[in-house]
């Protein structure tokens, strides 16, 4: 099978995308049903073509076809099979094709599911999706073609960066792209609504599923990337406020605000402008992220190989897409208000605070990320904006939001009594106070740490209480089952958020570290454990040589064995690179983390030992949060019927 098949398939997909971007729009304006439905066929056609193209690319990697440039640059015959396959998306060109694949998948889903969506709306949504597809396919075909051939095929490839030969990194891009592409679908819905000139609660119902899927994808993608950094990069850190990390975090923040707003549109026919703007900005952040990663604009450990020419293309794409959408927003959105009014203290009010804080947080991260660039352009001066800035500005914004999150589910729509809600939460208050005292007693947390743990406890207790209280009592099981899925989803997600915050706070303030020179037989006491280095020996892997340590960890008080850890230092001969593989043991409440350092001339080894309390809660919490999002997506929300519409007694969802 030649890769030219894949190339051809991609071109066909582009043609279909062009058709999908133009014809249905015209047809929707004319009311031509047949041509509107053309969009469904082109969407499926695109999916088939792009799937074919991607399979061709994967086959080229699987069969180590080094006549294909990207295979020669990113693979090697000695690489384990799974990583050969994963290498299909582990580089710039292939990852773009994956992006396009997921985009066409979502397009086909919108075309097929979403029962009851009026044809004009569906046509318009698919048209906008098509436009995005055209942009990305043109970018791929013109500047980043994965199917390019090498004139002189080498005998073997250049291998992949050994840091990327890792299960975490196999799944990180696909999940993240689910998130980014999901945001593009939300964007398409928003632009379609703007083109149509109205936002209805039904529109929100259909768009909502995509937003929730996108949000869940981003949550998983980001946390997987963070987890990978934690165990692979060898310093126990999990977030560095690196520009590329920020580029994925900003869409997530926008998506979080969006998913709350979209429910309000569905239920209360309000927050329309907010919702449209968030959908547009959320995808804009995704595009901006793509730009930052692939253009060489900012330095980052994560960035793909840089190329300003590609940067120009993406910037133009960004300008047209975002600029066009925001212009449409400026023109159309002012006419779209209306809907239910509400008192300042109400569920809507709380969600408005939520929006404000999330938007400010996003703006903060954006300012911090782009500031060095802007300053250099204006004055030529170079500054760095690193973790100290972000921690000082972002954390104070999030704390109030988390506190309000605990209260909001108890606030009524339109008009609520905050006092009544507080009174219900006295149990949660006691739990929070207990954790506060505990944090102070453990000491070393600092003000930020104590606040973080207290807020996390407050949120967790309040969410658990609110959820249980809704179905507890006589007929509890029946009530539990009949509760809307979104109530379960919300409770899971909010509770999980509290777990995540607890994990982040605890590991940031109570981490224990020991950096020691150890010889075989030496032991170190840290955090209630005794860590003994038994021996250090040579080992061999499929495509690397290693120096491996064997470290036995026992509990100091009773000597019971906890684990034997094998940290490594690896050398990959093809890539000529060293990596450090930390050894980690999770106790559920903490991680024991060991890094094997350099051998000293004097005969010992530089070992770094860490005890990271509650850090597993970070990853489990994030997974749980994503689950909450998916649970919510599975449910069907009750949509508000407007007064003028035909209102049936039974809500049709």
């Amino acid at each position: 099978m030649t890769v030219e098949t894949g190339h051809f398939a991609l071109i066909v997909a582009l043609i279909l995308a062009v058709m999908q971007s133009t014809v249905p729009l015209w047809a929707a304006a004319r009311g031509n049903r047949e041509l509107m439905n053309l969009a469904r066929h082109t969407a499926w056609g695109q999916l088939i073509c792009v799937t074919l193209a991607f399979c061709v690319l994967m086959y080229a990697f699987a069969s180590s076809d080094f006549s294909v440039t990207v295979v020669a640059m990113n693979s090697h015959s000695a690489k384990p099979f799974l990583y050969k396959l994963a290498a299909s998306w582990g580089h710039h060109e292939g990852s773009l094709l994956l992006w396009i694949l997921i985009l066409s998948l979502f397009g086909a889903c919108v075309a097929t599911f979403c029962r009851g969506m009026p044809d004009p709306l569906r046509a318009r949504v698919l048209a906008v999706q098509g436009m995005i597809g055209v942009g990305f396919m043109l970018f791929t075909l013109l500047t980043s073609n994965p199917f390019d051939r090498l004139i002189d095929a080498p005998l073997d490839g250049n291998g992949l960066n050994p840091l990327l030969q890792d299960p975490g990194l196999v799944f990180h891009p696909p999940l993240l792209y689910f998130g980014y592409v999901g945001m593009s679908t939300a964007f398409s819905f928003a632009v379609a609504a703007l083109i149509e000139g109205r936002v209805t609660p039904d529109w929100a119902r259909w768009a909502r599923t995509w937003v929730l899927i996108a949000w869940a994808g981003l949550t998983m993608g980001i946390s997987l990337g963070s987890w990978w950094a934690y165990y692979e990069l060898g310093w126990g850190g999990f977030w560095f406020w690196d520009p590329v990390e920020n580029a994925s975090f900003m869409p997530w923040l926008m998506a979080t605000a969006l998913l709350h707003c979209i429910s309000v549109v569905a239920k209360r026919d309000a927050f329309k402008s907010w919702t449209l703007l968030l959908a547009i900005l959320g995808f804009s952040m995704s595009l901006l992220g793509t730009f930052i990663v692939r253009s060489g604009l900012l330095t980052s450990v994560h960035a793909f190989a840089t190329d300003p020419e590609r940067g120009v293309f993406i910037l133009v794409l960004l300008g047209i897409t975002v600029g066009g959408a925001l212009l449409l927003f400026a023109i159309r959105a002012p006419t779209m208000e209306g809907g239910g009014g509400f008192e300042p203290v109400s569920r809507e009010g709380a969600l408005l605070i939520n929006n404000l804080l999330l938007a400010t947080a996003t703006a903060t991260v954006l300012i911090g990320t782009l500031y060095p660039l802007v300053l250099e352009a204006v004055t030529g001066e170079k500054v760095s904006v690193g973790p100290p800035f972000f921690n000082a500005t972002f954390v104070p914004l999030m704390m109030p939001m988390l506190a309000v999150m605990a209260l909001a589910p108890l606030l009524s729509w339109r008009k609520a009594s905050a006092l009544a809600a507080f009174k219900q939460l006295w149990v949660a208050g006691i739990a929070a106070a207990g954790v506060l005292l505990l944090s102070v007693w453990i000491s070393g947390a600092g003000v930020a740490g104590i606040i973080g743990m207290t807020v996390a406890a407050w949120l967790a207790a309040a969410t658990a209480y609110s959820w249980v209280r809704r179905w507890w009592g006589k007929g509890a099981l029946r009530r539990l089952i009949s509760l809307p899925m979104e109530v379960h989803g919300m409770s899971i997600a909010h509770f999980a958020a509290a777990i995540v915050v607890a994990g982040i706070t605890a590991t940031s303030v109570w981490q224990s570290e020991a950096v020691k020179l150890m010889k075989a037989g030496d032991s170190v006491d840290l955090a209630g454990y005794t860590w003994r280095l038994d021996r250090v020996y040579d080992a061999v892997g499929p495509n690397y040589q290693a120096v491996r340590g064997e470290m036995t960890v026992t509990r100091t008080d009773d000597g019971s064995q906890v684990s034997i850890l094998y940290p490594e230092r690896r050398f990959y001969p093809v890539a000529q690179q060293n990596t450090t593989e930390a050894a980690i043991h999770t106790t559920g409440l903490a991680d024991l983390y060991v890094v094997l350092g350099e051998g000293e001339q004097t005969g010992g080894w530089a070992m770094r030992l860490y005890h990271n309390p509650l850090v597993p809660w970070l990853w489990f919490g994030a997974a749980f949060m994503a689950l909450g999002g998916l649970v919510s997506a599975a449910g069907r929300i009750r949509v508000r019927r407007t007064r003028t519409a035909n209102t049936a007694a039974e809500a049709v969802a």
Binding site: L357, S412, L517, Q601
Partner: protein
């Protein structure tokens, strides 16, 4: 002194990519070492892709970590140590940007955004009030039963659908 230099040379020639924060780099005095570690987290490795001095394995990072410790042992305050490095590498080497006229937009930006957002919400609140007065009770409570766990008296709703 000569032996020390030769040892450093041997180590650096043998392994150009040194390990991040090795035991041999650490100071004996735990208070000074803690300060050195904190400073290392606040300073940027000038050469690396966005890494702190503490995290980086580059040769220059090792050298600068050593210099930070030398200056601390010599009695410099944290501010003086940072000044020593910025005199040679510019503000680029600070991960927490200094508060200067050129960074006001950065530090006050978030505040400006939240104020702006507040203004926008305030203005829309007036429109909202008008809408509320006009629509009044819009049959909401029947629709939103599931979503309003507390009734108007602040008590839990007992009946669900």
């Amino acid at each position: 002194m000569r032996l020390f230099l030769l040892a450093i040379l041997a180590l650096l020639l043998a392994a150009p990519a040194a390990q991040a924060i090795a035991p041999s780099e650490m100071l004996r005095d735990p208070v000074l070492e803690a300060r050195a570690r904190d400073l290392g987290k606040e300073l940027r490795c000038p050469k690396c892709q966005n890494q702190s001095l503490d995290d980086s394995e580059a040769g220059i990072a090792v050298d600068l970590r050593r210099i930070v410790r030398e200056r601390l042992v010599a009695g410099d305050t944290d501010v003086q140590v940072k000044a020593y490095l910025t005199a040679r590498y510019g503000d680029f080497v600070l991960l927490k940007p200094p508060m200067k006229s050129t960074t006001w937009a950065l530090w006050f930006g978030p505040l400006a955004v939240i104020l702006l957002g507040g203004v926008v919400i305030w203005r829309s609140a007036r429109r909202n009030k008008a809408r509320l007065a006009e629509m009044g009770d819009d049959g909401l409570d029947d629709d939103m039963q599931d979503d309003n766990p507390l009734n108007t008296d602040g008590e839990w709703e007992s009946a669900k659908r």
